[in-house]
Amino acid sequence: MIQVNTAKFSLILIVIGAVIMAFAHWVHVDYLFFASYTILQFIVLATAWNILGGYCGYVNFGSAAFFAMGAYSSVALYKFDPQSFEFCFTDSTCMSFHFLDWAFPIPIPVLIIIGGLVSGIAGFGMGYLTLRLRGSFFAIATLALAVVLQTLVVNWDFVGGSRGAYIIRPENMEFAGIELNYIEYLFALMLLLAVIALVTARTIERSQLGFGFATIRDDELAAEASGVPTLRLKLIATTLSGAFMGMAGAPFPYYIGYLQPASAFGLEYAVNSIAMPMIGGTTTWVGPLIGAVLLGSAQQYATVTISSAVNLLIVGLMLVAFVIIAPNGLVGLVQERLRTWRKP
């Protein structure tokens, strides 16, 4: 195999991304932007999930929670008006936030970073509480987190609660000197985020860190005995994974225009973040990419032609089938083929 170092790989991806962007701009079909945004979003989510799930072997059922935290940080900051907001410590001592006027409305790239920080910290916190336990306990805890968070958001009126929140997006934005309409701008951002996620995943995979992750997945006790600081590594994985999911969620309210807890915490995020890497292949960065592109495109097509419920059913069935029959996913099947083909 050709050895490609990280800098070269990043450059290749950026070039591919730029080509895609140029082509998309020239074709300029809004629906394609909407559909592709979803697929790019899933690339990020699947890659993020795989850092903890595929590399370390710790299953996260609550991807929706981290995604939604990113989305709701954006909503909260959207609704925060520094001109009128006052925080009162006591009845007479209040603090105003006028000094923040210049920062608002916060641009989306900054929102992405904030969303990443929020979800990253949440990932760290949750990891700290539960990663000392077995993997199965951690998985259950992630389920619990998703529901607790959803309940909190539903009851938080500032971001709209169960009624939802409207986000009004501007008409046009500037990106690298070119004027784009909003959906194109979001598409460009998500494309960039996907590139960053893939480069990160690949870098980790080839580094000492990724090596350590693999030992946790293979045999955590033996890893500890060999000197691997497993808790620390797991926390790094959970934080990174959560952060990327939050970053994927941050632009979502602007994409969708009207955000309800049911859509942010939707089941399709939990299922797809797991199904895409598991069907694509969990041991490398390629797996989540393939899974996201294939499954994502298929679902975009199916939602339009069949119902979305049937579409989800098929995803679920495929997950079960692949997990039983092809545990290493499509990448694993290809690797098997290559191995038998190479032997004389």
Binding site: Q208, D219, L221, E224, A225, S226, G227, P229
Partner: protein, 244 residues
């Protein structure tokens, strides 16, 4: 005379079952200690408590002058305690050479900082594998190994961590006579370089020829601890373990 390892009155229960009952054991630096006893007597539990895979409930474990109970296993490995697992636990998604790179990266390099950052990892892995006779299989996967070869890999992995104390937990099960001789010679060579060794085995000939001192564990209690010739003649030891 300060012991390298001092297990001070430790106990461990699993529910109602007492696995270790007030165990007191000392190992001097550079010593070759043999640990024997029937299956289920608590030998592996003792190793687990020393290495941090399990936590003892009472008493303490001292290593190299410091209390180490409460420390996670990886930190104990950094301080110089290494063990092989009785039931081999290789990293099954990596080649044999890569299995050894893990302790080299995470223990040896972590200990020495980046001083030896560019030293020859590949070469060291090869060297270690050669020492246990697995050099030719460096690029193979653990699933292609026999049980015996996996035990050798376990030993090599423990050695890779460059320990002060090496605990070999039944590394010789299933080996042929000449293979046992080879492993014993290897352990003696390591010992001559200053590594303290605890050998846990059922193969009495190996234990007797190797050990400077012999301890016997039965049902969670230490029932004998002394010169090998004396211990094997101890009537209680004969009754509980040897005489069958």
């Amino acid at each position: 005379m300060s012991a390298l390892l001092h297990v001070n009155n430790i106990s461990k229960r699993f529910g109602g079952f007492v696995a270790l009952d007030d165990i007191d054991l000392e190992v001097q630096p550079g010593e070759r200690l043999g640990l024997i006893g029937p299956n289920g007597s608590g030998k592996s539990t003792l190793v687990n408590c020393i290495c941090g895979t399990l936590q003892n409930e009472t008493g303490s474990v001292y290593f190299d002058g410091h209390v180490i109970d409460g420390l996670p296993a990886h930190q104990r490995t950094h301080r110089g305690v290494a063990r092989s697992f009785q039931l081999p636990r290789p990293f099954h998604s990596m080649s044999l050479a890569d299995n050894l790179r893990i302790p080299l990266l995470y223990t040896v390099r972590a200990r020495e900082g980046m001083l030896h950052a560019h030293s020859d990892l590949e070469g060291r892995c090869r060297e270690l594998l050669d020492m246990v006779g697995l050099g030719a299989k460096a690029k193979q996967m653990p699933r292609d190994l026999t049980q015996v070869e996996m035990r050798k890999l376990e030993l090599a992995r423990a050695m890779a961590a460059e320990p002060k104390l090496l605990i070999a937990d039944e590394s010789m099960a299933g080996l042929s006579h000449s293979e046992i001789e080879d492993i014993l010679a290897l352990l003696v060579r390591l010992n001559e370089r200053g590594i303290t060794i605890i050998l846990i085995e059922h193969i009495m000939s190996a234990v007797m020829s190797f050990s400077q001192r012999l301890a016997v564990l039965v049902s969670g209690k230490k029932i004998a601890d002394g010169k090998p010739q004396d211990v094997v003649r101890d009537p209680e030891v004969v009754r509980a373990y040897l005489g069958q």
